[in-house]
Symmetry: D2
Subunit: 304 residues, 4 copies
């Protein structure tokens, strides 16, 4: 178990790490989480696995689920999808209205809130029972039929999702939302409420490390070309306005969520998920980034 | 010469390519260039080479030189450099004043004009004879003592460099320019005037494909860690507000210039330079991007 | 009837006026209005009156009603009101989200949509039956118990009021909306649906020409100081991002609505209302402004 | 001398006024001024005068001079002038680059820095010896041949006028500066360096209270219509992003300068100048505004 030894070593080296981050508190449910939780889990495309800490405990994956929504929408619409949402980094905070207004309702990319809402709207136009059908897709990719939404998180998000309501209304003004706002937002809030463990998360994203083929479920999820493209979108846009910083330090495509999770993939090698709830000012897991930075340095597995 | 055969094949496949792009015309000297020039040159870290078309003709590398200025400044200042210039994509056009004002004179990254001007200012504080010393550095990296500035381009740029003057004055307001404005801008305009052939350009950037060690000159230019970091900056910020698009299509870190050149590197494998003067609306070589997109597809060498 | 003769003369002089304006079409109900309607009505503080054209026909006063909401809120809250909404011109279109985000949910002034929504929220906290109580206030000021809301307009606005929903949600994010969003917006859309004739409108605004005392109803509506202040707000902010242009040409404080109405007051002298449904690109009545420009020139009654 | 008694009374009432303002310190020369200076001077169109405090001491009128430059340019160009500079409030700080970029180099109005620089450029195209000819115009309007530029202020401004250099370069990019940048800025910095006493300043602006006719020099400076229009521009744009607040409190068209001066006119009645060097956060004289607010209340001479 060389990876496990490495995880232990890195974790020890981070003992002096001053984590000045804050647990997300914009919704009551997230604020309840134990700030000191820490888990990491790695799955390689040749079926090795290694876990450490709380890697079998569920947490709210939040924005990480946007990559899965994008994946399914991309299979439905191909490149046409990108007429309604871009692939460029936004250069401003993840929930900004400024660029959305300037760009006439076309979000910069599918991994900021506005973009993920458009992706949800796209999925609603393709799926008969959007929530049930999408969950089934996630269960397939993860090879795990126990993955589910969290009702309490959904309720909590809805009670204070004013900025997301501002975003969707602004996009509706520009004609970039086709379905009913309340339906789209119900789907979106459910999407963000999905819960997984680090173990499950690293397995779920393994297809992106393997040219679109999922070794867990033995299914083709995406074509190699589309898989690469989603990785490039994660690389450019996966960390709000800290995407460059993550790329600079860690050197892997990945995606973070305000629940404190981060998943990153090394194309051709592995998928790794970390979880530590304290976030830095940009909304990304503080210790999660620090851990991954050391991991890619120790294993010399930056893609650069 | 398998690569050369591939170049020919790709070039043939692009014969029907409708190039609606325009040669840069903001300075008279660039507008004079023959719009139909096309060259490509590849150099691998294990000393293979392949060229096609006008790959031995000099052109103005323009913004591509910003990567070389960043490289040298990074060796002088280490991570402290990034207190004065960020590593995030800008999300707005390359010469925008908006973010620069919002961010109080700290440019988003070293590859937009404002950031490169700050890098020039940093270099001026370290070099005794900035222009001469920097040129010597470029000659060393390229293993070619014939690389030089182009006086006509410098004069042409100065005659209409009003927006760059606006940028540097705005940064001076915020205290992020330490030297005299006229001196900094003279250095900056010289930097952008460097001329190379595709052949020379691909050799010059080879150290970034080789963890900082230049196989041409047998010299360590950068540490492996710094080399990776510069690649990640190119990945995030190398193509103005089309960085995501380039990453999405080509899947390599790279840098473009308004002279129509693009250089891209595959870490651990090769450096490739293309030149085609017609630019798309974002200011990047139209055919250059198309060529590289097919090249990484054919060779399956996207980093994703 | 010297004023009536003058109205006729000005109207004749405008016969060659090329009205390239467009009737507001963002809601179906407004688009139905006859584009060629034209009315004007003047009421002086010493009880003279003059009307011309369709001055006794009802139209939707739309944003003009915002001044009446401001008036009532000002009587309830005094200067404290201006902690939640400013008195500065916005410099950007009337429904922009940009400044609202920059200014953390505090609208620039009470006459842009966001500001009027805050004023509605304030009124809801003071009135027992907001819609009924406010209508009664308007009836009092106008000395006319037949003034009413228009249900069809309300329904029409609600069916496509996405941008206003974006504004109110964004302000709720910043804590500047205290009541339930749906209730506030129902009140707001009713406010904008009020219908009046030019005749009624000029009488309704007469108190602002008379230091806050309404000669029609013989009631004090506002203190002289508050009356002056509302006039100054109309002067600075009454015409979206064309306030300076209106001030430059007409030289009177006033307010326009997308129904094609404009009301203007000359402090110490008169109140005048015009109606012509074709709007210029800034959303103000084209012929209405032209008419008022000639009127203040002919009568030498610019306040400047 | 009833006005003098009133000045004394108001000044006494302001004794408890906590002036938390700061003397302008962006250039060394302005920072040297005695913060406790206070002067006020009123001149009526029927030749009454009243002064108080340091009303015969020279100070740097700074931006107030922009109104005089606008006046002269308006006589040369008529309405065509407003193709190159608007009449709308800017809604953002006086030296912002944001709107200037959005509006493609057309400043919002002639009283912000960018607008005044365009006006200087216009004057340079009309005047043979711009600095000398303009000074002569100011001397004529003021009826005072001793008015002059201040060389020390010019030198001081030039040594740190980086933001203004950014503005002019940005406008040159858009083609809205016709003359050489250095010449235009030399003229602009001289314009801002003009020194006057409150006494002189109130006389100089009297033509704007008198439909364009200067009772001091017995000369027509502007047509009545143009005079009104300049007043309306001062009303909308005379106090940077505090124009609405000044209008709300004082109710007169006016213009402030960072030297601590304010001049305001009541059309048909008087011109009044105050001077108190401590500025509020928006860059306008703190005590100056407070004094004028009480003055128009006491004399009931708000234009609203």
């Amino acid at each position: 178990m060389e990876y496990q030894a490495l995880f232990l070593k890195i974790n020890n080296s981070l003992k002096g790490f001053q984590d000045s981050g804050q647990v997300a508190n914009y919704i009551p449910e997230l604020a309840k989480v134990d700030a000191n939780k820490f888990g990491v889990h790695l799955t390689t495309i040749d079926h090795k696995q290694a876990g450490f800490g709380d890697d079998n405990e569920k947490f709210s994956i939040q924005s990480i689920a946007k990559v899965l929504a994008l994946t399914l929408a991309y299979t439905f619409e191909d490149e046409i999808l990108f007429k309604r949402v871009g692939v460029e980094p936004s250069g401003t905070p993840f929930n900004s209205l400024y660029l959305l207004e300037t760009d006439q309702g076309i979000p910069r990319n599918p991994l900021i809130n506005a973009g993920a809402i458009v992706v949800c709207d796209v999925l609603m136009s393709h799926l008969k029972n959007p929530k049930a059908d999408f969950l089934k897709f996630v269960q397939t990719v993860s090879g795990n039929s126990a993955i589910s939404y969290c009702e309490r998180i959904v309720t909590s998000e809805k009670s204070c999702g004013y900025r997301n309501m501002a975003l969707v209304n602004l996009m509706k003004t520009f004609g970039n939302i086709k379905n009913k706002i309340d339906d789209v937002m119900d789907f979106y809030f459910n999407l963000c409420s999905i819960q997984m463990t680090c173990n499950e998360l690293s397995k779920t994203f393994l297809f992106l490390a393997n040219d679109g083929f999922c070794p867990v479920s033995n299914k083709v999820i995406l074509s190699p070309s589309k898989s690469k493209r989603i990785n490039s979108v994660m690389q450019s846009c996966g960390f709000y306005d800290e995407a460059g910083e993550f790329s600079f330090k860690v050197g892997l495509p990945g995606k973070s969520g305000v629940g404190g999770g981060i998943v990153a993939v090394h194309p051709g090698k592995y998928s790794i998920a970390v979880w530590s709830p304290k976030l830095n000012k940009k909304g990304n897991s503080n210790k999660g980034i620090a851990f991954l930075e050391r991991f890619t340095t120790e294993t010399d597995t930056s893609i650069f």
